[in-house]
């Protein structure tokens, strides 16, 4: 509001876009995105930031406690944990983001279809979603990865699939809500084809819940992916990945605390960032959404 600016000393006029300004005033959303961006930046700049090669083994430096030469210590193969955490961000964050995209796109598409075609198609999709919900997500992902073989790509698909039900449910509801509005009826009456109605009128009206679910789901995706990697179903050695690094940490928990500690801190920071950003987006875009 231009008039109320007199007593308000803050935001610079250049950031005129009201949405962006509201975002920047939301402390949680800003903290979350700063955290995430910092971690992404760290992962992207790994070749310049990491002091050591993350894969090269050095038996003489095996199992060193944190000291100035190795800030976070070394693992049993003498690899620098700090360097591996930095490089590991590339894998872990990539898996998290891609899983959200895979699950979000597939789940949203199914939710759209179910909401728009309420007959047989909708029923089948919703009942299949109930099935997915009747199994714990972790076991679903576990079985899919076991079936397709352990690799980061399969991990992405598995985590994506296990995150689908939320999108299907929420989008189905949102479409049901939107499609009773008059402008949809008008569009149909004027002879628009189904796809056109969906693309032009329904999709723009339900973007908010998708964005909110996606950012909220990122934290969860990061955690499930780390868990499966921990069980040996994700990144294979010697690839540095946070969850996989922790399974070595478990073996050496007696006496070598640093191996099990720091990769977990990295996961924690990433998930805190994702959750803060997600909750911020919910407050800003769709405050009534309950997941």
């Amino acid at each position: 509001m231009p008039g109320s600016g007199a007593s308000d000393p803050s935001p610079p006029r250049a950031l005129a876009h009201p949405g962006l300004r509201r975002f920047l005033r939301h402390r949680g959303a800003v903290t979350g995105s700063v955290l995430l961006l910092a971690l992404i930046g760290m992962a992207l700049a790994a070749p310049w930031l990491a002091p050591y090669d993350p894969i090269l083994q050095d038996q003489r430096a095996s199992l060193r406690a944190p000291d100035p030469a190795h800030l976070l210590g070394t693992d049993v193969f003498g690899r620098d944990i700090f360097s591996r955490v930095i490089w590991g961000g590339r894998q872990s964050l990539r898996v998290g983001f891609l899983a959200v995209i895979v699950g979000g796109l597939a789940g949203s598409a199914l939710g759209l279809l179910a909401g728009y075609y309420r007959g047989l198609t909708g029923t089948v999709i919703l009942r299949l979603t109930d099935l997915l919900l009747a199994l714990p997500g972790i076991l679903l992902a576990l079985t899919i990865v076991a079936a397709t073989g352990p690799s980061l790509e399969n991990l992405i698909v598995a985590v994506g699939i296990s995150s689908m039900p939320a999108y299907v449910r929420v989008l189905n509801g949102a479409v049901l809500d939107v499609s009773t509005r008059t402008f949809i009826e008008a569009s149909r009456a004027s002879g628009a084809a189904d796809l056109r109605v969906l693309g032009r009128h329904v999709v723009p009206n339900i973007l908010a819940p998708v964005i909110v679910l996606g950012t909220l789901g990122l934290g969860n995706a990061l955690l499930i992916a780390a868990t499966l990697s921990f069980l040996g179903l994700g990144a294979q050695p010697p690839t540095p990945e946070w969850g996989a690094m922790l399974s070595q940490g478990r073996e050496f928990i007696f006496g070598y605390w640093w191996i099990a500690t720091f990769p977990g801190v990295a996961i924690l920071l990433a998930a805190v960032g994702a959750n803060l950003l997600g909750e911020g987006m919910r407050d800003l875009l769709d405050p009534r959404l309950r997941v």
């Binding site: 009942r127 299949l128 109930d130 099935l131 009747a134 199994l135 714990p136 997500g137 972790i138 076991l139 576990l142 079985t143 899919i144 076991a146 079936a147 073989g149 934290g219 955690l223 780390a226 868990t227 921990f230 069980l231 969850g243 922790l246 940490g249 478990r250 928990i253 007696f254 006496g255 605390w257 099990a260 500690t261 977990g264 996961i267 924690l268 998930a271 805190v272 994702a274 959750n275 803060l276």
Partner: protein, 309 residues
Amino acid sequence: MARFLAWRLAATLFVLLGVAAAVFTLMNTLPGDPATMLVSHFGASAKDIEILREQLGLNDPFLVRFARFLGGALHGDLGKSFQQNRPVARILIENTWPTVQLALVSVGLATVLGVFAGVAAAVRRGRWADFLTMLVSLVGISMPGFWLGLMLMLVFAVQLRWLPALGGQGWSGMVLPALTLALPAAATVARLTRSSMLEVLGEDYLRSARAKGLSERAVIYRHALRNALIVVITFVGLQFGLLLGGSVVVESLFSRQGLGQLVVAAVFARDIPIVQGWCLLIAATYSLVNLAVDLSYALVNPRIRYDAR
């Protein structure tokens, strides 16, 4: 009420049928032949493996095997474990109690901790106690469960030596796994309780309760919390199912006997009957818990009735 129950039970049966079909298909399309995996380290010949496949019924057509599995399941016969050559149902029963014990203790802990923290935060909205509770619970929901377990192990088993790290028996062995499961769940319960308390705290009937001279504690716990609990109950119910799933990781981490450790081993060993039986058991529990949750709404809030009208 009776009609509602019958309808829900029928729906549950349908879900179970679907789960059976889905898991059966998934497990039977896995690459890796169970018979080969079973005897490969004995140096069995191709002919031996063929005989074993015949014995295990792996050579029959897919639909025949599925029909046999379903038929057995309806009589409570879930087949025999490939690895242990014993009835799956018995193996599952043997492993159920430790896991249920763990889940019950964890759900109890999570609910008590979470509800109190949530109420405490809500009545001090905007003050430092509220901020601190929310910060701790944010960390709680952002932690990988197994990492929390590792850290608890590090502090209480390795450093302080108060509790056993792996495979402890009795109550001392229960503490760390239960905390590992309960703390993240408590974080979510605290957040839910807080937000649903905040919604309730503004209601008129609370002003009336205060006006008639009730103590603040009675207002909060007897009137506000009771109405705020409905959201929380849903979640606690769902959580019970999630914790059964979470036991997969925690039991493996702490080398604790139970359904979770059983199924992880079975997935890796391609012990299909065990995995199938486990999935059915979990899905059935999950559905029944959900039903119980729906019914408990009526207890907390008498305005909800499941009668025809």
